[in-house]
Symmetry: none
Subunit: 229 residues, 2 copies
DNA sequence: TTGTTCCGTTAAGATCTCTTCAAATTGAAC
DNA sequence: GTTCAATTTGAAGAGATCTTAACGGAACAA
């Protein structure tokens, strides 16, 4: 689980401290800003995964900050506010806020709303593209490229490669690979593995007979490694 | 602006009536269900753009309904509940709810939260008209053109194409396509998919037997790609 | 050296999956 | 009910993928 970085924009030191402690104990990283101006700058420079924005800032209304952020910032913004009037809430939500919590808020609820917001916006986009020298693997789109050319893999070849990538650096035994890719009924079909390893190497290795990525661990299995150049 | 269709799952006739009136005057279409069982069936058959779910249903807990919905339903779910305990809220949000409103709620706020939820999940395609070489797709008006001639698509064909366009470059598995276009009860009707892919290709591809846009990923699904020329 | 074991490579046939066409069925509009 | 368009079903052939088996090479021990 990669740590999400949140930006807190709030002028009250007490609230910032509370948020910081709560968020850190729940595995989030935080950045903090005390007013609108520094908040906008910090959002632009550190690209947080989510912004907690106080609506009552000293230098400028949070509503204005929200509009300015939304000109370019597409990730979730949760409003924290002492005002609970319907007008404020509707205005904030229509200006692009993802959620609105009235102070004093319950920390458990805040955390759940943060998780919910992060979930909905990262599940769609969350592009997981891995690059190993001239080999590039896009796990969400199921695309593999070698020297920027798309490599056509069959479904079994892809499943095998994905398994290797997810266990980079680790030795995967013959039986583990067979079980995961073909199923528990194929534990003795070692030959399948040999054939498919050969095919994969032919497609993704620069020199298939001197493999750089898929190494043989004789008598045990195979290992996918990345040699940094 | 195309009308969004919302599904209301609530056992109180009074609330349903209130929601119906509020939503209709704000340009939403609604469907209604009075208990968990009919709610789940209706969600599966009419594919609403958002679900308003009461947590206190007569036949089954809303939490259970929420979990069952989230096994396949990916669009927003907003919880309406008489309970305001933090436990309930956190549980619902962590089970996949996008928002949680405590009854009695303010209708203006509800509407703003609905708009906010719909915005985040449909914001992907803001471009009005998409142009891919000689293929042109207008998602807001449901018009598709090939070489500037309007292509007549049936509703199923269009839904399929729209789904591809929204997920350009990504492999969409057979089951995903079947679930999104036909519904979760059609996961084994692979043949439907094959027939409709063929029809779509005949209509939008220059050479239907050498597809340029809709590519086959044998054993997995299909992928919509744009080859920059 | 010889034998053994493990691994890599290749290619042909078997099998699974996809495409295509067409007929049957459904459902909506009149 | 009739008509028409759309969807569903079925079936044959084409295509892609998997399976199998045969062979050669490398590593290692006797």
């Amino acid at each position: 689980m990669s740590k999400h970085e949140l930006l807190i924009i709030d002028d009250e030191a007490q609230i910032r401290k509370l948020l910081e402690i709560t968020l850190h104990t729940n595995d989030f990283k935080t950045k903090e800003a005390v007013d609108a101006k520094s908040g906008l700058i910090m959002a632009a420079t550190c690209h947080p995964d989510l912004i907690l924005l106080d609506i009552g800032l000293p230098d400028e209304s949070g509503h204005v900050v929200l509009r300015k952020l939304r000109e370019w910032y597409t990730k979730p913004i949760i409003i924290l506010s002492a005002h609970s009037s319907e007008d404020d809430i509707v205005k904030a939500l229509d200006n692009g806020a993802n959620d609105y919590l009235v102070k004093p808020f319950r920390t458990g609820e805040l955390l759940a709303r943060i998780r919910s917001s992060l979930r909905t916006t990262t599940s769609e986009i969350q592009k997981e593209i891995l690059k190993y020298n001239d080999l590039q693997i896009d796990l969400t789109n199921r695309i593999v490229k070698k020297n920027n050319d798309v490599v056509k893999l069959t479904s079994t070849e892809y499943n095998l490669l994905a398994l290797f990538v997810k266990n980079e650096g680790r030795v995967l035994t013959h039986s583990y690979l067979l079980r995961e890719v073909w199923g528990p009924g194929y534990l003795d079909q070692l030959q399948y593995l040999r054939v498919f390893i050969a095919q994969l190497r032919k497609k993704i290795e620069t020199e298939p007979n001197h493999p750089e990525f898929i190494l043989t661990e004789s008598g045990v299995g195979y290992r996918f490694v990345i040699k940094e150049k």
